[in-house]
Amino acid sequence: MPADAAGGSGGLLLPALAALLAGAIFLVDTLTPLDTAIAVLYVAVVLIAATRLGQNGIIATGVTCISLSLLSFFIMHGDAYNFEAIIRCGVGITAIMVTTLLSVRNHVSNASLKSQAALLDLTHDAILVRNANDTIIYWSRGAEELYGWLRAEAVGQNIVSLLKTVFPIDPNDIVAQVETTGRWDGELRHTRKDGTPVIVASRWALLRDKRGRPVATMATNTDISDRKRSEEKLALARAELRRVVDAIPGMVWSADAHTGALLFVNARWSDAGWRTADLGADWWSVAHPDDCPQLKDMWARALESGHPFESSARMRHADGSYRWMLVQCTPLRDETGQIIRWYGINTDIEDRRAAEDALHQTQAELAHMTRLTTLGELTASIAHEVNQPLAAIVTNGEACLRWLRRAEPDVDEAQSSVERIIANGRRASDVISRLRAMSRRGEPQQAPVRINDIIEETLPLVERELFHHRVELRLDLTPVLPPVLADRIQLQQVLINLVLNAAQAMDGTPDGSRQLTISSGIETSASDAPMVTVAVCDSGVGVDAASLSQLFNAFYSTKPDGMGMGLSISRSIIEAHTGRIVATRNAEDGMTFQVSLPAIKESMP
């Protein structure tokens, strides 16, 4: 090794000793007339040098010793070469040369071994060799780094007690496996010098002697604590994800992109009594028999087209009951756009559907109730309308009798009375017909009607309310208007609602200034068909801008005891007639509600 060849900092003693020894041998060899091969002693100098010097140093030492032997020979026998002396010198030189060559060779093989051991030290893995008694006989630098003990501290210790090894299985089983196969690998838990735990991946190899007896076991340990930790984290994250998926209030599933078979279902499925194994590719078959064909068809089309789909169907549960589910699924594609999996979720919408049904039902009932309420408000008006002619009939009848019972019966007067009776009877009957039509339930029947007729028919029904609210009524009707296609009764209902609202809106304004104007007209525009309009304009309190936009919403009312259904129903009626109803605030007081209905061609009788 070059560093050692330089002599080392503290290694000056041996070179000095070698030089001294060489000098002493040279003096004895030169000055003493001994007839022996003193030069052989140079071998010791070469051997001493070989412990410290490198290859070149050893050769130089050898050459120097040979030179010194030759120098002594020439000084001693320079004038008389006798055969014995030459032989002695040859033996000495040969001995020095052989020693030098052997030292060089030994040095080279040592260097190779050292560099191999250094290579083992270069790996980060901890390499430990123990003998059959579990005593550590080799401890790599990687082991020093991993466990904290230096080689000197570790070698000679019992490996199991030093590292406090925790085996994943019975250590005897491991030993047995190593003895039969020569190898074992697995995870071990060790404790470092500083007391911290470490998890290692350990690979064992058995070394045998020439006769095949096990002599040592080499273990290569890799620190996998970080990997273990991240694996644990990953497992936790996966478990968390699974819990989240299970907690989703819906039946989550994934299905194979080709076969359509279910691959995964979340806990909601098992809650409902389903397992993946029971479902397979025909998962849609858990739907109600009536819903199956559609669901099956949609799923087949989705698989074929790759388009997400959404459908609702009744799904059977373990207890045999069916619940409405919303089935939604979407494909997952890879980078090339190939579908690799389908993900879906079935959401239970049974309760929501039931609530929606109940709401629709309630709305329908409310609408009818509102109509009845409107009717109730009108009852007093209608009662008056009926009572007037009845009172007239009774009084006329009584008067008629009196005319006839006179001493001289007055037939003319009696006849007039009877005529008035008939007229009033007809009048009462008309009111009853209107009332019956008004309260009739059933499908709206659209027929061509004239808006002015509707207005005229409606007025008697609201007259009393207008009177009660001390409202002055003005009519501003355009005489000749095209007919509209409408349900007469529904249109009357809308008009009554608008008039009653207007009358109530004017309660807050002083007597004498409560004016209600009902006008009819026609609107023509380039783009649309002409519209027949009827407007109800009041001089009441009106509403603010914020309320204006909400007036037609159901349950919205500006009246303290209002149900907020009247205008909402009015709008649905008008919209069902493909018309419009618009509320605007007047420039001065009050509001105007205008209903526009498409005019139809004149074809009425």
Partner: protein, 219 residues
């Protein structure tokens, strides 16, 4: 059946009694008109109270048959308005439905009757007959009052004083002591009072004093 009022009611002021009908419903007006005419009553028909107030009506006993709900001024408001004026007359209200608060208010304000349509002919004829009779009596009283008042105004201040004291039941001597005159002078005044007031007896004079609202009881 009642006998025609013309036969039962003595003519007062020469004019025949009549019934005023105010209802905005023509059929009701006409039926009532026919009914009243059939028993010989004169009628005046109006669609509103405003029309009625503008009309020139004969000076004769009258009563008003009024629908309680009318366009413009309501029946009850009209009743109040009439009550405050000199133009008083019995009012029979008609209503389409039995509204108790309304009828209570009408009756408290002095309505003659309150009938719900349709009513029996006898009910309204009875109500009309008694109302006309009441109005005739009121008119007579008014007229009597008016003539006594005219006579009373012809008395001197002293004579008025004497009349009041005599009517309250004092003897001539007591009257004399009361106003510091001789008994003879009181006698002369008293004689003038009896003559000017055309009183046939003391009792007659006391009644006149009652009509005039003089205190007749000083005991």
């Amino acid at each position: 059946m009642i006998s025609p009022p013309s036969q039962r009611l003595p003519p007062s002021g020469g004019a025949e009694p009549f019934v005023i009908i105010v209802d905005d419903d023509a059929s009701i007006r006409e039926s009532l008109s026919s009914l009243f005419r059939s028993v010989g009553l004169r009628v005046e028909l109006f669609a509103s109270t405003a029309e009625m107030l503008q009309a020139k009506l004969p000076d004769a006993p009258r009563c008003l048959v009024l629908d309680i709900r009318l366009p413009g001024l309501s029946g009850l408001d009209f009743q109040d308005q009439l009550g405050k004026s000199d133009n008083t007359m019995p009012i029979i209200f008609m209503t389409g439905y039995g509204d108790i608060p309304m009828s209570v208010r009408a009756m408290k304000a002095g309505a003659a009757d309150f009938l719900t349509k349709p009513f029996r002919d006898q009910d309204i004829l009875d109500a009309v007959a008694s109302s006309l009779e009441k109005d005739r009596l009121r008119r007579e009283t008014d007229r009597a009052h008016a003539s006594v008042e005219t006579l009373y105004q012809s008395l001197t201040a002293r004579e008025k004083e004497v009349m009041a004291l005599v009517s309250s039941g004092l003897m001539n001597k007591q009257v004399a002591a009361e106003i510091g005159l001789s008994e003879i002078t009181v006698k002369i005044h008293r004689g003038n009072v009896m003559r000017k007031m055309a009183a046939r007896s003391l009792a007659d004079l006391v009644r006149m004093a009652g009509t005039l609202g003089l205190p007749t009881d000083r005991k």
